[in-house]
Amino acid sequence: MTQTLNRPTDVDDGLTPERLLRAYRTMKSIRMFEDRVHDEFATGDIPGFVHLYAGEEASAAGICAHLDQDRDTIASTHRGHGHCIAKGVDIKPMMAEIFGKITGSCRGKGGSMHIADLSKGMLGANGIVGGGPPLICGTALAAKIKGDGGVGVAFFGDGASNQGTTAEAMNLASVWNLPAIFVAENNGYAEATAAKWSVSADNIADRAAGYGMPGVIVDGFDFFAVHEVAGEAIRRAREGGGPTLIEVKLTRYYGHFEGDQQTYRPRDEIGNARENLDCLKRFRARVTETDRLTDAQLDQVDAEVAQLIDESVAEAKAAATPGAADLLTDVYVKY
């Protein structure tokens, strides 16, 4: 209790116009990146699978806005593009990686589900459902031992919330009092299985009590709500308060994977979310109505991001694919 007594206001949380503009750029970059990958995938030029994050931008942007590149780490999921962008991974190598090109983040060998950039504290997208939370226990333990105030953030979905790895990681984080944040991005479906059916708890956040940590639900369509909740959880973790479970309720605008017919979703679900809940629309309305940013500023970001995405696709298509000589390189990490 004393840790919060007399501290300065904690709810203005430093959202200066510059930071708001940066947050908008992050969300817009994710949206345009994913919309473009959606289009490009349909042409057949992208190998493998892609799982798109469009609609969920406020979660990655609201949480990663509090993270440093040097001391904080995140672990992502198969739906990882948004987390990568929000953590600062460069967009052009990301796009090249998805196209399987040698200029990609992982030299074209990982693809969408394995984009990683350790220099940015991005441990990787992860094709294993529930693969991220145990990794974060490791980086959070390292941060605790080093005493640098770093935190580890594990993003996972409602499907992964039912995995043993996630349960073990939350238990370990609590037992070791780690600076770890568990972010359950509940978009309502584990592939085609509804969370209402497959998650035994009323809310994923309710499970936090069983691990001895706080559990919070936040509106994933509202950047400001996510940002505030994440700020408090991360501050608490940095100060030695231990782990937190944040359930972000949101929806994805595309299928589980590209090509998913989504027959398991109500017909109007996505249209309603796009029309009435969209995080980018809400953000724009909020910041312009309160005179913190202008439409002209936001439009300029839109144009800059659109150009960046165009360039990233053009450069990715023009780049070479890995050759036979690259087959056995980058297989193991040297320590």
């Binding site: 206001t9 203005d12 809310n203 919070v216 936040v218 709500a225």
Partner: protein, 357 residues
């Protein structure tokens, strides 16, 4: 309502009550910044069952129950079915339970309003709400003249009361069958009116408090830090209260039945002449800077001083305003009719209700 020894009470034709448990209450940011409790939905389902048992025993014919996708209504139905099928409990008398469904559920507070409106329209003698201050506020526009019983599901509430659900069900049941009377008077309520620079007028109500904060974003809605608070208007503030109204409880206790409310001008505790330590959230006593305290008289709109910030109603930031907006707070005696359980049951005890011959 005098019993013959061992007899069941007769079912009273046409008697009905409504039950609205809020499945989403009790999971906000206060779980991180304070030690606020988590109230599981399984317990809410159990509370509903206890209300049903009490109402059924007292002869209530019909109970209207809101439905949800978080397992409360489903849990009630499952347990009722189990009890009805088990040999040892098959004899229990239940009211006829109607599970209401909305045509277009939103998953927001609007669903609470909609359910309250349906229940009020279907001749419920009273509606019991299970939730926090926000749940109670959401029900108000739908209730009309129908009395409410406000039952707390958590540790962070000022308006609803902590009470065993069985006893709440007794009070509701006795009102529904005519063995106790519902309150005639309305409680106090705050009206927050925002005249926008664009000409639009926004309106919110609060059952307990309206608090002006220098915080500019609605964000995660809750308020828990004393340093951002600038003005506080309360319908009541009890010395044993929790949340923002506890500031009034510490400075100038104001009762639910008083004609007036209370207005407090606040400041950053680092600059204020006086501070008061108040329990703004469970486990979280915060210093709050105080510059002025006084009565808030009914029907007198009070313009707020702050030029930019948010207004929290019943502890949740709902309104953002800026220099072009005019915000007023008005206390009125036009709130819901709220059932006082001790008073209702006390009066029925005096009439020897539930006492056998």
């Amino acid at each position: 309502m005098i019993l013959d020894r061992g007899d069941d009470l007769p079912v009273v034709p046409g008697s009905a009550i409504g039950v609205i448990p809020n499945p989403m209450s009790g999971r906000d940011i206060r779980r991180i910044v304070s030690q606020a409790s988590v109230f599981p939905n399984t317990e809410k389902a159990s509370m509903v069952l206890r209300i049903l048992r009490a109402a059924g025993t007292l002869g209530v014919e019909r109970v209207l129950l809101s439905t949800d996708t978080f397992g409360i209504a489903a849990g009630v139905q499952r347990e009722m079915t189990r009890l009805c099928n088990a040999r040892s409990t098959a004899h229990l008398r239940w009211p006829k339970v109607e599970f209401l469904e909305l045509d277009l559920p939103t998953g927001t507070a609007a669903d609470t309003t909609a359910y309250a409106r349906i229940m009020a329209g279907q001749c419920s003698a009273a509606v019991v709400l299970l939730g926090g201050d926000g749940t109670m506020r959401a029900a108000v526009p739908g209730l009309g003249d129908t009395p409410m019983l406000a039952l707390s599901t958590g540790t962070n509430n000022a308006f609803p009361i902590m009470l065993e659900a069985t006893v709440a069900g007794m009070a509701l049941g006795m009102i529904a069958v005519g063995a106790a009377t519902a309150p005639e008077t309305r409680c106090k309520m705050l009206h927050v009116e925002v005249r926008r620079g664009s000409g639009r007028v926004d309106h919110e109500v609060a059952l307990v408090d309206a608090c002006v904060s220098s915080t500019v974003d609605i964000g995660s809605r809750a308020l828990w830090t004393g340093s951002s608070l600038r003005e506080l208007y309360c319908t009541f503030g009890e010395p044993h209260g929790i949340g923002l109204s506890s500031i009034v409880g510490r400075l100038m206790p104001t009762h639910r039945t008083d004609n007036h409310g209370c207005a407090v001008l606040l400041d950053d505790p680092a600059h204020a002449a006086h501070t008061v330590l108040a329990p703004l959230a469970p486990g979280l006593l915060q210093p709050v800077g105080v510059s002025q305290v006084g009565e808030l008289l009914p029907d007198r709109p009070r313009p707020i001083r702050e030029r930019r910030g948010t207004v929290a109603v019943d502890g949740e930031r709902e309104i953002e305003f800026g220099p072009d907006d005019t915000v007023t707070v008005t206390l009125r005696h036009d709130g819901p009719r709220v059932i006082d359980v001790p008073a209702a049951l006390g009066a029925s005890t005096a009439q020897h209700a539930l006492l056998s011959r």
